[in-house]
């Protein structure tokens, strides 16, 4: 009886033939819905900070450098490619691309920094009426975006210290 089982097993293997794909010698294709590295379109982004407010990995930082310029920085290192940012962007400025071969020794290769010129209201001089989405984000009491050190810090902290803290694992290669 066991011999019959063995023969059956051999047949299963033989019938399957060779299934290994020639990747990486030939590129692998991905389906249409694939969620790869998010790409931000600076032309479309209105700087609402909705993506930053909803990113589970806290990969998107926003800071106003002056009244009219807002910096949006996507770090790209802990990004889980969940696609929440793309879901929520009101302007469809984020596309989940086909890129999955993102291994790099230079972390900035996968990041993206957007410099956004914010149109202001002719009457009041502000881009949004108060509280702006960005202010709301910070009012919640959990974050101050620290672009220089690429991290976000709890608002409840009295001051920001200069060195990078345990907020982030430093994965950059030196």
């Amino acid at each position: 009886m066991s011999l019959a089982a063995k023969i059956k097993e051999v047949l299963i293997c033989l019938r399957a033939g060779r299934v290994t794909l020639p990747y990486p010698f030939e590129p692998a294709t991905v389906p249409k819905a694939f969620r790869g590295r998010p790409i931000f379109d600076v032309e479309r982004c209105v700087g609402c900070a909705g993506c930053a407010n909803n990113c589970p990995a806290r990969e998107i930082l926003v800071e106003d450098v002056c009244q009219e310029v807002r910096i949006l920085k996507y770090l790209g290192r802990r990004c889980t490619y969940c696609g929440r940012c793309a879901d929520l962007c009101p302007e469809n400025a984020i596309t989940m691309s086909n890129e999955f071969e993102t291994a790099t020794d230079e972390i900035s290769d996968v990041g993206q920094t957007l410099e956004l010129f914010m149109g202001t209201c002719q009457r009041c001089g502000r881009c949004f009426t108060s509280p702006t989405p960005l202010e709301e984000l910070k009012l919640k009491g959990y974050r101050i975006d620290d672009l220089m050190n690429e991290r976000w810090v709890f608002r409840s902290k009295p001051f920001l210290n200069e060195e990078k803290t345990v907020d982030d694992i430093d994965i950059e290669l030196d």
């Binding site: 009886m1 066991s2 019959a4 089982a5 063995k6 059956k8 097993e9 299963i12 293997c13 399957a16 299934v19 991905v30 389906p31 249409k32 819905a33 694939f34 969620r35 909803n54 990113c55 589970p56 990995a57 806290r58 889980t80 490619y81 969940c82 696609g83 929440r84 879901d87 989940m96 919640k140 009491g141 959990y142 709890f154 803290t165 345990v166 907020d167 694992i169």
Partner: protein, 558 residues
């Protein structure tokens, strides 16, 4: 009705001991009891009412009530009921009576809530540190609300060594893990061996802590947590994703749309298919039968592809948000999925027919890793391990969620209690999953895939959800909170219970059966280790250092 009958019996017996009762539905009973009767109520439920112990939870409620909260959850599987026994304790050194001597399944839960929340289980038979790293200072409990999520204790004793228990007379210690060829993740078993026979063991795990529960309670918001929840496990991620969403929905009294429920069911079953095929492959690999290992993985590949096509990723589906799902199944995807499961059914039938008659693999796995029905009950073992020991439990049927109450399927049970039975149970469950997916595809209603939620979720509500993962029931407990995030989210992965059964399953077996037995529960250490906040650097340094491995090896030659 059973829930009323149960309540009557409890009130007869404990009267004033029960201070409040919440019946949120016919399936959930929240009993708030005085600390003095906690132990007796639990023992009564477990022994007299034959409940299954699900999990113990500790929570820091001090910002709201000034007290700490302890809950023990019990499941009545035949009656579709979860009963949570909750008590509040206060003081600087809060304590509850331990129940582990009578309910051994509570052993880890009680040690866990001491480590993390600082509520001591007085009279615990083995109150050793379970979760925190060895150097973590005593008296600091990371899940307390006054501890920030990124807290690094100042007086971390990086030199403190773990103290193993004394070796039994006449035994040598053989270290198994932290890194072992058959384990994909770190866990350490110190086996006490007498000749070839295993006389006992000490488990030391929780080396893959990532602080997920703390992050959820302090940093993330309701709709961000599902994306992290699915990273609890690399294989049954969708289970945690769905279980979390359901627990919050239950707490907030929301219901997902019908179509969303069907999509959840389909994706959960797709996940079970890939997980079972993977496991059967790995089990054969451990047993030295690599042919089937290769074939299982080949047969599994289309399942991964179709998941990628539907959700955008092979494994992390990022499926749920509160109130629904994110990906719809269009006509194209449905046809694709139908084709995949049709092929899979054919191929798998051939494999099962061959393997179930294969004498070699039977000889290797029969009477190995025996878990008696008594052990299953005592340690609260779950899933295929329980079903292979003749205990017919399955959360899909016993506590139906999503669309499982609208489909028909059989719960596969085998009686021989060994690894062979576990292989059979999993191999046959593949066909049931295919059946479920087929029914869902034909019954799935049209409509929106996510409910519109306009109000803020209410705070201080409690929700329990239980999802049958490929390895057994995953149990989530949520207390909702302010600021769009939960106050407490407790995850109990199936391996958390199953692993506690391992010392009994390997006892008196030969050393060579250890890998197979451990493999047979399909252990998932990351799931089990999901909680904790630790300094990542110092912990990994401590735990994985070559010096320590070396010293373990040396200890072996002594």
């Amino acid at each position: 009705m059973f829930i009323l009958h149960l309540l009557n019996r409890l009130q007869e017996r404990f009267g004033d001991g029960i201070s409040r009762v919440d019946m949120t539905s016919d399936e959930r009973l929240y009993l708030y009891v005085k600390p003095a009767v906690l132990r007796n109520v639990c023992v009564f439920l477990f022994d007299t009412m034959s409940a299954r112990y699900a999990v113990g939870i500790g929570a820091d409620d001090t910002p709201y009530s000034g007290k700490y909260q302890v809950a023990h959850n019990f499941a009545f599987d035949g009656k579709n009921l979860f009963c949570s026994v909750i008590t509040y304790v206060d003081g600087t050194a809060p304590e509850v009576d331990s129940i582990s001597d009578r309910i051994p399944a509570a052993n880890w839960s009680e040690r866990e809530f001491y480590d993390l929340v600082g509520v001591r289980a007085a009279g615990h038979p083995f109150p050793k540190r379970l979760i925190l790293p060895d150097g973590w200072p005593d008296g600091e409990h990371p899940l307390r609300k006054d501890v920030p999520w990124n807290h690094v204790p100042e007086n971390f004793h990086s030199g403190r060594e773990y103290e193993f228990e004394r070796l039994p007379e006449g035994c040598v210690a053989v270290p198994f893990g932290p890194f072992h060829p058959t384990l994909d993740e770190p866990a350490h078993f110190r086996l006490y061996v007498e000749g070839e026979r295993i006389a006992g063991c000490e488990y030391r795990g929780f080396m893959a802590h990532r602080g997920i529960e703390k992050l959820a309670e302090s940093v993330l918001t309701y709709n961000e947590i599902p994306m992290m929840a699915e990273r609890i496990c690399g294989i049954c991620g969708c289970v945690h994703n769905v279980a979390y969403a359901q627990a919050v929905e239950e707490a907030a009294a929301l219901s997902p749309t019908k179509r969303a429920e069907y999509i959840r069911t389909i994706m959960l079953e797709v996940e079970r298919l890939h997980s079972h095929l993977l496991w059967v492959g790995l089990a054969c690999h451990i047993a030295g039968f690599d042919t089937l290992f290769m074939q299982s993985f080949r047969i599994r590949e289309p399942v991964m592809r179709i998941a990628e096509k539907i959700t955008g990723n092979r494994k992390t589906y990022a499926l749920c948000v509160i109130g629904g799902v994110r990906w719809n199944l269009d006509e194209d995807a449905c046809t694709g999925l139908r084709r995949v499961i049709d092929n899979l059914e054919d191929e798998w039938r051939g494999v099962v027919a061959a393997v179930s008659k294969d004498k070699n693999i039977q000889r290797r796995t029969r009477d190995v890793g025996v878990a008696s029905p008594g052990l299953v009950k005592r340690m609260g073992l779950l899933g295929p391990v329980a079903r292979a020991s003749g205990i017919c439990i399955d959360a899909r049927r016993d506590h139906p969620y999503a669309a499982y109450d609208e489909v028909e399927f059989d719960v596969i049970v085998r009686e021989s209690c060994d690894v062979w039975a576990r292989i059979l149970v999993r191999a046959l469950e593949v066909f049931e999953s295919i059946r479920i997916i087929r029914q869902c595809l034909s019954k799935m209603p049209d409509g929106p895939i996510a409910a519109e939620i306009t109000d803020e979720l209410p705070s201080a509500r409690t929700g329990i959800s239980s999802v049958e993962a490929p390895r057994g029931e995953a149990h989530h407990f949520v207390i909702t909170g302010e600021d769009n995030k939960p106050r407490r989210w407790r995850v109990r992965a199936p391996t958390y219970q199953n692993l506690q059964g391992i010392p009994y399953m390997i006892k008196d077996q030969t050393l060579s059966d250890m890998t197979l037995t451990l493999g047979s529960i399909d252990p998932c250490f990351s799931c089990t280790d999901r909680v904790e906040t630790i300094d990542i650097r110092s912990c990994s340094h401590r735990v994985y250092s070559g010096r320590e491995l070396e010293s373990l090896v040396r200890r072996k030659d002594k």
